[in-house]
Subunit: 263 residues, 2 copies
C-alpha cells in the first residue's frame, strides 16, 4: 500500500469509541498530514453537521476541519444537486445535520405539500405522522432516499434504533426501496474520492465494520483496510460479504504497513 | 359447502368498504342467524375495541354484538393468557383496542421498566421513543408480538402506514422477528374456531383478501371463500400463495352456494 495517496477514514470504532479516543488515532492523522497524504472522514452519521463532527474530533485531540468531514447527509445533498430532475423540494425525515446539508446544497425543505424527494436519516423525532407524510409523498412519485441503513446505533444506553429501522418502516408502508447514500453503498466512496481529486487506484477505505466500511470499498472497487479496534472481529472476515484487502490490529500497524516498515 | 356450520367473516371489503355497507351484507348475516348458523367477525384491526367494531357494524345495518367480534388484539391477549410464562407485564405499542384487550385478559400494562412482552399493533402515536423502548425491551428478552403485519391501511386519504410498517421498524432495530397474531397467521383462525366451539371441518373463512383472509384459512386448514367485493381480483387467484376453496362474486352468491340453490 505504499502507493496510497488518499485515506477515507471511518469514525466510530476507527478513530474513537463513543466518547473515548482510540490511543493512536491523533498521531496517525498527524502522520498523514506531515507525510503529505490526503484524507477524508467518511461517516454514516446523518444527524451531525460537518462542523459538529469536526468539533467532536478536535475535542478528542484529532486534527479536523469541517471540510475534512463527509457525512451521508452530504452525499444525499450531493446526489440531489447533481440529479437531472429540476425540482429540489425535499421532505426531510431527519435531524439538524440532514437539513443543513440539504439547504446548503440549494434544496427547498418542505414540511407540507408536494415534494420531489423524501430524504430520511436517523430522526429521534420520528413519528407516525412523519411516516405517513413520507409514505404518501413517495406513493405520489417523490424519490425515496435514505442516508444510511444502519440497523442500530451502539450507545451507552444499548443498541438504539438506527436509521435503517426508520427506512424499513417507510419502505414497508410505501412499497418502495430507498436509494441508499451511505456505506455500504458505493456512491459514498465514489463521491468522496471525487471530492479529494484522487484516483480510486490510489485510495483506501479504512474502517472497523465489514458490513459498512469494507463492503462500501469493495462495492466501489477501492482497496480496504479493516482495523480490529471496533465492531468486526478477525473471525468474521471469512464469512463477510465483502473481504478487506488487509486486516490490521491498529492505525499504527496501518502506518507501518504503508511505510513498508512492518516487513 | 352445505355442511358448513360456522362462518369466520372478514370486515373491510367483505361486509363494508370504508364507510359504505356492501349491499347484501345485512341480509346475509340475518340469513345466518335465522338458519341457525354460527359466525364470528374476524378482523386484523387492532385499534378498535369489540364494542366499537360492533357499533360500526350496527350503524351500517348489520347485526352485531361485541361478543360476535374477534380482533387481532384479542388474539394477542388470548395468546399471552394461555402462554406458559408467569409474567404478564406488557409494553404496548398500540391504541385503545389493544390496551383494552390486554387489560381484560389480566395483563399488566407497563410504560417503563421491565416487560415480558412487547405487543405492537397500529399506533398513530408511534414515535422514536416508543421504538427505542420496544427494541431495548426485546433485546432484554421480552417476547415480540405483532397483532398484524398489514403493510398499509386503505383510507380516504390514501394508503396509510399499517401495523406491518411499525413491526418492520421494531424488527429491524431489535433483530427479532415478531410472533404474528392476525391473518394470515393460522393462530387467529385456530382461536376463532375454538371460541365458536365448532370443528375446523365445519368452518369456513370468508374474505376479500387472498394474502390475509384466504391465506389464514389455508394455513389453518379450513375451507375458504374469496368474495370479489374488495381487495383481491379473480385474476390474482392463480398466482396467490394460498388458493381459496371457492371464488364467488358476492355474499348472496355464497348463500346460494351453501343452500345448494346455485346449481
Amino acid at each position: 500500500m505504499q502507493d496510497i495517496e488518499a485515506f477515507l477514514i471511518d469514525l466510530d470504532g476507527t478513530l474513537y469509541r463513543g466518547k473515548e479516543v482510540i490511543d493512536d488515532a491523533p498521531e496517525f492523522v498527524k502522520w498523514l498530514q506531515t507525510s503529505g497524504r490526503r484524507y477524508l472522514y467518511v461517516t454514516n452519521n446523518s444527524s451531525r453537521t460537518p462542523e459538529q463532527v469536526a468539533e467532536h474530533l478536535r475535542h478528542l485531540g484529532i486534527p479536523a476541519r469541517p471540510e475534512d468531514v463527509f457525512t451521508s447527509s452530504q452525499v444525499a445533498a450531493e446526489y440531489i444537486k447533481t440529479d437531472g430532475r429540476s425540482g429540489k423540494r425535499v421532505f426531510p425525515v431527519g435531524e439538524e445535520g440532514l437539513c443543513t446539508s440539504l439547504t446548503e446544497a440549494g434544496c427547498e425543505i418542505v414540511e407540507d405539500g408536494p415534494a420531489d424527494y423524501v430524504v430520511q436519516g436517523i430522526d429521534r423525532g420520528f413519528s407516525y405522522e412523519k411516516l405517513k407524510k413520507a409514505s404518501l409523498l413517495i406513493q405520489s412519485g417523490a424519490t425515496f432516499i435514505s442516508t444510511n441503513v444502519d440497523k442500530a446505533l451502539p450507545t451507552e444506553e444499548g443498541l438504539l434504533p438506527g436509521s435503517g429501522s426508520l427506512a424499513a418502516a417507510i419502505r414497508t408502508a410505501s412499497g418502495e426501496e430507498p436509494l441508499v447514500m451511505g456505506k455500504p453503498a458505493a456512491r459514498m466512496i465514489d463521491f468522496a474520492v471525487e471530492r479529494l481529486g484522487v484516483s480510486k487506484e490510489r485510495s483506501v477505505v479504512v474502517g472497523d465494520n465489514l458490513e459498512t466500511d469494507i463492503l462500501a470499498g469493495v462495492n466501489a472497487g477501492v482497496r480496504t483496510v479493516l482495523v480490529l479496534t471496533g465492531f468486526s472481529k478477525e473471525e468474521h472476515v471469512a464469512t463477510a460479504q465483502g473481504r478487506p484487502t488487509v486486516v490490521l490490529r491498529s492505525l499504527t500497524d496501518l502506518r507501518r504497513h504503508v511505510e513498508g516498515t512492518d516487513k
